[in-house]
Amino acid sequence: MGTRIMSYAEAVADALKIEMRRDPRVYIAGEDVGRFGGSFGVTGYGVFAEFGPERVRDTPISETAIVGHAVGAAAAGLRPAIEILFMDFLLIAMDELCNQAAKVHYLFGGQLKCPLVLRTAVGAGMGTAAHHSQSLEAMLCHTAGLITIAPATPYDVKGLLSSAIRDDNPVVFLEHKMLYAQKGEVPEGEYLIPIGRADIKREGSDVTLVCWSGMVRQCLAAAEDLEKEGISAEVLDLRTLIPLDKEAILESVAKTHRLAIVHEACLTGGFGGEIASIVADKGFDLLDAPIKRVAGPDTPVPFSPVLEAEFIVKADKIAAAVRELLG
C-alpha cells in the first residue's frame, strides 16, 4: 500500500470516503457539511463531491436533532457519522448523547445497538473564544456507554476513524482544530487502528508524559528540549480515552518511574485526575516522585490572543514540570 503526505483534515475525509464506499449504510449529517464542505473543510475534500446531498446531509441548526435522529437511524440499521461543528455546541445535545445514545443498548437489554460516530472539533488556539474552544472530554469519559477517541496525527486519525465507524458502540471522535492543517505520512488504502490502544510517540527512560489530541505535539516539543538537558522523556499518546489503555500507562511508568499527565482542558475534574488516580492505585510502588498534572487553568478560554496563548499548555510549561519531578 502506497503512502501519501496528507493533512489531518484530509486524513479524516479519506477515512470517511473509504468507509462510505465500503458500507452503504454509512452517511454524514451536520451543519454545513454539504456543498460548503464543512466549516473546517473536511467534507470539502471530495466527500460531498463523491456521495452527494443524500449521504452528506446538511441539517437545520438543531444539535439535539442531529444526535437524536442519528440514534433512531442507527436503531433502524444505518451507521450515522454525524458532525457537531464545535464541541462546545455538543452541550446542547448532551441529553441525546449521554441519556440516549450512551444508554439505549443497556436499557433495551442489548436489543438495540447504537453504532454512531459523532465527530466534533475541539480545542483552543484559533481565537475562537469561550464558546468555540473548549476541550470537554472529561464529561464524556464520565458517561457510561460512550467511547471517546482523540487522535493527534493524520495517521492515527484516519485509522481510528475507520475503526470508529465500524464499531457497534456510540463513539465521540474529537478532532483538534489546530491539527487539521498538520501534515503527515498516511497509507492511501484502508487500515484500522484498534480502539483502546495507546501509542508511544517517543521513547524515553526518565519520565512519562501521558497526553492526547493537541497536547501530543507540545509534549514532543518539550521532550526535544529536555533531551538537550540530558533528560529522556517518553511521550505516550493515549489516542483513545475510553476504553483507557491502563497497561500502556503502567508499563511506561514501570520503565521511567515518573509521570506527568498533560491536557489542554481545565485542571480541575480533568481526565488527568483519573489517570493519576489509577497510577496511584495500581502503580504506587513504581513511582519515584509525585504525579504531576500539567493542564489549562480553571477559566473559560479567553478571547484575547495574549490570554489565549497563556491558557494553552505549551512545551515550556511541560518541561518546567518535568524538571520539578527530577529535581
Partner: protein, 359 residues
Amino acid sequence: MPVRSLVSYSIDRVEVLDPQGVVDEALMPDLDPGEIMRLYEHMVLTRRFDERMFKLQRQGRLGTFARVAGQEGAQVGAAFALRPDDWLVPAFRETGALLWRGLSMTQILQYWSGDERGGAFPKELRTLPVAIPVGTHMLHAVGIAWAMKQAGEQVAVLTFFGEGATSEGDFSEAMNMASVFNVPVVFFCQNNQYAISVPYTKQTASPTVAQKALAYGMFGVQVDGNDVFAVYRVTKEALERARTGSEPTLIEAHTYRVTDHTTSDDARRYRTDEEVGLWRGRDPIERLARYLKTQGSLDEAGEAGILADADQKVAEAVAAFEAIPPPGPEEIFKHVFAEMPPQLVEQQAALMARLARRR
C-alpha cells in the same frame, strides 16, 4: 404598499362516533364487523390489564408506571392503523398500543417491575422500547423514518407523546427536521389535558396542538381521541400519506387521563371530581360498546365473556411474569457496550470476587 394576506390556514377536528354510540356513516372508516369486535376486545384487555397492573403496583409487586385508563380509544385506534412492517416509537403510556403490536403482557410486566431484560423487545415487532424521558424519542422516530426512506421501504413511523412533550425543544426540532427531510413520520399527540398536574392552558397558549404543525409546513389535524373510529380513520390516512408520499403529519387526539399521571401521584390534588366525571361520561370503551349493542353485535352475555377472557389472559401473564427469576448481580455490567471493555471486565471480576467472599 397594500397589506396582503400571505397565508391562512384552518384546523379540522374529526369525529365519527358520538358519545351515544351513533356513527356518521359518511365518515365511518372501512372496518368489517370482525375488525370492530377485535378493536373492542383489545380496548377491554388494555383496561383490565391496566387495572391489574395498578393493583400489582399497590401490592409492591410492580414499580411505578403510567396508567392508560381513558386513552384506550386514542392509542389502540392509532396502533390498529399500523401495518406490521411500519414502526412504532412509543412514549411511556402506550401499553395498549404495545399489546396490539404483539408485545406480551408478561414482558410489559417484566419491564415495569424494573427488569431491563423486559426492555429487549423482539426486533421483528419494529417497536422501540418505552421512552421515559419526555420527548426525546420523537427524534429517534425521525431517524428511523430517514433510515426507512434511505432503504427504499415504503413504510411509516408512528410516534406517541403527550401535550406536555410539545413544550420540549425536542418536539420542535423533530417536527422541523421531519418536514425539512420529508420523512414518513406520524406524530401522534395524546392530549390528555394534564402534564402531571399542569393543565393544558398552562402548557401552551395555542388553542390546539394540531396547529403547531402549520409552522413547520406540516399537515395537522385534531381528532376526538375517545372516538376510536375517528382516530383510526385519521391515523390510517396519515400513515398512507407517509408511506406513499413520505409526508409527515401531526395528529392531536383530544382525550383525558381519567386516573393519576403515574402510580406516584394523586390527581385529586389538582383537579375536580366534576371534571373527571364529565370525561368518564365520554369513555371510549363504553361508547364503542353502545355502538356494538345498537348494531346487535354485543349483548350482556357477550360483554361478560369478553371481560372474563381478558381477565384470564391477564392472570396467565401475571403468573408467567412472577415465575421469571431476577437477574444475577453480574448483569449490571452486561450491555453497557456491545462488547465489554477491560475496565468493566475488571469491575465485574471484582464484584464477583466480593460476592464469593460474602457467600
